[in-house]
Amino acid sequence: MLEVGTLTSHYGRIQALKGLDLTVREGELVALVGANGAGKTTLLRTLSGVQPASGGSIVFDGADITHERADRRVKRGIVQVPEGRQVFGPLSVEDNLRLGGYTRPRDEGDAELERVYSMFPALKERRRQAAGTLSGGQQQMLAMGRALMARPRLLLLDEPSMGLAPRLVEEIYAKVRALKQARTTIFLVDQNARAALSVADRGYVLETGRIVLAGAGRELLGNEQVKAAYLGL
């Protein structure tokens, strides 16, 4: 479904991606793990088109989208939940969600909204509240709900557990598993390597802009190199 070939990208003057290859197949949950500054967020931004690729290619459903505008990619179904939530703080929860469905036909909006509310009941209770007043966990739910409003064919999740308490991390990952069961294709980036790799079908390890390891999720979880990279064990 998604094929990335020798992708490079520069963040300011820094080459953040140094020729990166990976694939995501339909219905799969693929996790990408790596340390701070390895280029995880840059990769997701390049996939979404908010950060230009300087070389290589991104092919989605057979179409080359390497240089396509970000909003067109959303219409194709590539939807990202950005790092740090990035909800529209002054707008209400419901407005945030409706903006998520910006690219969808207007008449679908209400039905879609109900679907998201049934998945995240906490959001429905706070539908009139300004998104900026939500707790971190609720904002993460909102960011995910907002992305789901666009009916993603490929959901990109960037650091969904960042700064969240363990109980909330579990809650978020429960939603991720639910999405996976509903056959949503997901590409997940998380520093919480154990959480990410344990739900993933396959995983990649990113180090300074390059993929250094690939394999099944469980397999990577047991890998000594991965363990060493995360706790100096």
């Binding site: 500054g37 650091e159 308490a165 959480a195």
Partner: protein, 259 residues
Amino acid sequence: MNAPQLEVTALSKAFGGIHAVDQLSFEIEAGKVHSIIGPNGAGKTTLLNLLTGVYAPSSGSVRLEGSDVTGLEPHELAARGMARTFQNLQIFFNMSALENVMVGRHLRERSGWFTAMLRFPRLTAGERESREEAAELMRFVGVGEYIDADADAMPYGALKRLEIARALGSKPKMLLLDEPAAGLNPTETHDIDTLITRLARSGVTVVLVEHNMRLVMGVSDHIVVLDYGRKLCEGSADHVRSDPRVIEAYLGSEGLAAC
């Protein structure tokens, strides 16, 4: 044991109701390497910003060498011997590499505005000394080859060390490094490791915020682990490494792995 060089008491910082740093207390001992670790979003960079005066704390206090320095401006703290680097490099890209380091000597320059504008001989002598010392510092941190380069022509890894050279320009008593190894390859990381050890040996107190555990565990005399802006635990590398709370905070809960 000596009196601590830096004493942090019940320090808090809130952004729009969310506590990035929450009732944090710890001490820093002179001449040692201290590390502050914790998962993303744990409040490490905010803490560094509080310690160096970039942010004013919401409450709590910081004492440096016995005197209260809470709420002082960054340049006032710099004058008291504090220097730092940044996770998102704060290099002066409009200047040459050497000039960047010369700025680091700002507090030790002796000529003022008038001397400068009329270019009295005193200035020329000071400038020569300043240039030589800056070049020496660049060689010390291992970027000697860029002495004649413009800062915006240097690779990322070299810039990280250039910032350290700039910080050393003030001859600080305490150096705070914010993720010096982020974005570096293993060889470069190893160089940073050596550099930190050399600095500590020369008597500078090092406060390190870092994600690379191998680096942290290798160089630190003392580690403070943060989670959600609070202190999770502190102690030696071995002590911290074996604390189950730390493992959970880092690798995620065991419960998740089982499902």
